[in-house]
């Protein structure tokens, strides 16, 4: 399943989605969802996570500081196409 997190850790729905995530799910952090990779990194460990590069950089973080793979919009669409089931 493709799981999209677009809000930060303060959002109860995003925490719920993350709790529901299985090991083979693809989690993508987009918009303010990138804050999960900053303040709640431990909650993402062991999970299949990617971060939208444009949103990461736009919030002032360096590319090399991202603990998860960064993806551009083309790669984002490829991940979405590879996972027909979605939670967003």
């Amino acid at each position: 399943m493709f799981i999209l997190l677009k809000y930060g850790p303060e959002n109860p729905a995003e925490a719920w989605k993350l709790q529901a995530a299985k090991g083979d799910d693809q989690i993508v952090l987009i918009q303010n969802g990138v804050f999960w990779a900053v303040s709640e990194k431990a909650a993402l460990e062991g999970k299949n996570v990617a971060v939208v590069k444009a949103d990461w950089l736009a919030r002032g973080y360096a590319e090399e500081a991202c603990p998860f793979p960064l993806v551009d919009y083309t790669q984002f669409v490829e991940l979405l196409e590879a996972n027909p089931k979605t939670m967003s």
Binding site: M1, P12, W16, K22, K85, T86, M87
Partner: protein, 118 residues
């Protein structure tokens, strides 16, 4: 048949999202091959309380969705942990809601093609 779960997590008083979530779910019946279901979690769990009615505040009624739930036989779930967290005293049977615990509904998520949070 494509199954879609609409997960509503915001309160019916002060936000439009429970109404919007149900309205969007009902709209799915326009397509023959879509089967919508609704799950209420977090603050949205108070939707099913007997006394919850935003209309009393001059806002859009939430209880108006009940007739469409019954017309379309829409499956509605409400999360047990959220009912307890927000101390929902008694459920309005008009929603025909099934109480389900978090572990059970999260285990069921793989049944759905799309899970949409509103």
């Amino acid at each position: 048949m494509k199954k879609i779960l609409f997960v509503i997590y915001q309160a019916p008083g002060g936000t439009i999202w429970p109404n919007e979530g149900f309205r969007t779910a009902f709209g799915m019946y326009a397509e023959e091959d879509l089967e919508p279901e609704v799950l209420l979690i977090d603050q949205a769990a108070i939707t099913v309380a007997q006394g919850t009615e935003p209309k009393d505040l001059g806002l859009l009624s939430i209880k108006m969705v009940q007739r469409y739930i019954q017309k379309y036989d829409t499956k509605v779930y409400v999360e047990k942990e959220s009912l307890e967290k927000f101390q929902v005293p008694d459920m309005d049977e008009g929603y025909v809601a099934e109480v389900i615990d978090r572990a059970s509904i999260q285990a069921k998520l793989a049944e759905y093609d799309n899970v949409i949070f509103m």
